[in-house]
Symmetry: C2
Subunit: 238 residues, 2 copies
DNA sequence: CGAATAGTGTCTATAAGACAATATGCC
DNA sequence: GGCATATTGTCTTATAGACACTATTCG
């Protein structure tokens, strides 16, 4: 069987395709998004998400294109990369039809040298798509909030928030990440039971020492995919 | 602020864009997918999903394009249409880079005249992506199974399966739809509690009369979006 | 009445949540 | 010891599930 798909395809002159990445991290208990300077006059006061075209010479897949555009803003490899949705219509770009595939990237908070052009912007805890002054150009605010919405939703019933943490972490740090994402922390009891009894994390044998009782350090047992739980945290639902 | 997105975009001559729809329905307790005849030599023995290009003259949005291609195979409007995922790489089409946005469409089983070219194919209950002879051309089998996977997953914790039923239905029919999707039916008790106590369905005041005790007919209370439940059916997890 | 399907009552199991109690470090 | 944070114990609550029981129709 031929592998040529038999449709007549949209001529490229009428559709603009791009891949947009929403890079997210936790810093100081707050969710932050990485954006670069706008490269166009008329949008000087706004930042833009890492995004760009598909380059057949470099990208074998959409995900590779997303990684390449993300790498332009940060050396750090994302700990998680997931397609969020595709937006395509004839009104998001004044030139006509435009289509973008949106990815969410979760990054560990690192102190490494960053591209000086790139800037991490803090999203106020509990803030939603409609109650904040937009700071990204074009429809990038909308794209960003769709990704954040997805992350917040999945935080309630999957292991996804683990990928915002360093490779070893304490139970309290899981709890703090959930508070940062959801605006409210589920009970420590519930988090311990969920993550420990399911076996998705395991003790490293080490402790994090501080000014008081040291906390056990854990790591992800097998991080091929996010594990789903049967229920959501009810304390964090509106 | 300008609405022109500032990336250099992929020239259309190197990327082929299409929208593919996976039309699903329940018939006789089995999940079926609608496909049409392949239009290309080399794939005569296979069917293809409704799909095609974006036509800027007709389509304002990706979803409109999906509806248009679906309408080529069936007059029936879908009761639900949802984007599943976007697949793009340089190996699914032998001509090079190709990108498709996949939609899932849920249709009510009707006896209306169908396009004689279109054919509903039955998916064996409990069947998965890898244990069946492929009957769709290109990578359409893969696209179909991704949509079915999504539907089966959401059936466990949302009201999505209601959109596979006629506009009025009985509790037993909800249960049968879940059995068809999941291979096993959750307890009637659990289904009644979930759907009735949440208020997502309401009695029409009518009964479906048969050879024995008539069943109360319900309808969806407000069908703007799928309602999420706090838990999944545990009896249907592997 | 009997068959068949619709619907209810009630007890159990599981995991979230509340909250008190205990443990272990630093000073 | 005293403080602070980590961890555990235990009771409550919500909802899925098991399963017996009752209800309503047809023939």
């Amino acid at each position: 069987m031929s592998t040529e798909l038999n449709q007549t395809h949209t001529p490229l002159s009428t559709t603009l395709i791009s891949v947009d990445v929403v890079p997210l991290r936790l810093a100081g208990g707050q969710l932050q998004v990485l954006a670069g300077p706008a490269r166009e006059s008329g949008a000087e006061n706004y930042a833009v998400l890492p995004s760009g075209r598909i380059d057949p010479a470099h990208d074998q897949t959409l995900e590779e294109a997303a990684r390449r555009h993300l790498a332009a803003l940060t050396q750090t490899a994302p700990r998680w990369l997931e397609q969020v949705e595709t937006i395509g219509n004839n009104h998001r770009d004044s030139r006509g039809w435009s289509l973008t595939v949106v990815y969410m990237a979760l990054l560990e908070h690192e102190q490494d040298a960053q591209n000086p052009q790139a800037q991490w912007r803090t999203l106020t805890p509990g803030q939603g798509a409609h109650d904040s002054a937009p700071f990204l150009a074009y429809d990038h605010n909308q794209l960003m909030w769709r990704a954040v919405e997805r992350l917040r939703s999945k935080a309630q019933y999957t292991t996804l928030p683990l990928h915002l943490l360093p490779s070893t972490f304490t139970i309290t740090e899981i709890r703090n990440s959930l508070r940062s994402l959801l605006g409210q922390a589920p009970p420590l009891r519930s988090i311990r039971n969920r993550f420990l009894e399911s076996g998705v994390i395991e003790s490293t044998g080490h402790k994090r020492r501080g000014h008081n009782r040291p906390a056990t350090l854990y790591r992800i047992s097998s991080e091929k995919k996010t594990r789903l739980f049967n229920r959501i945290y009810e304390s964090t639902c509106k």
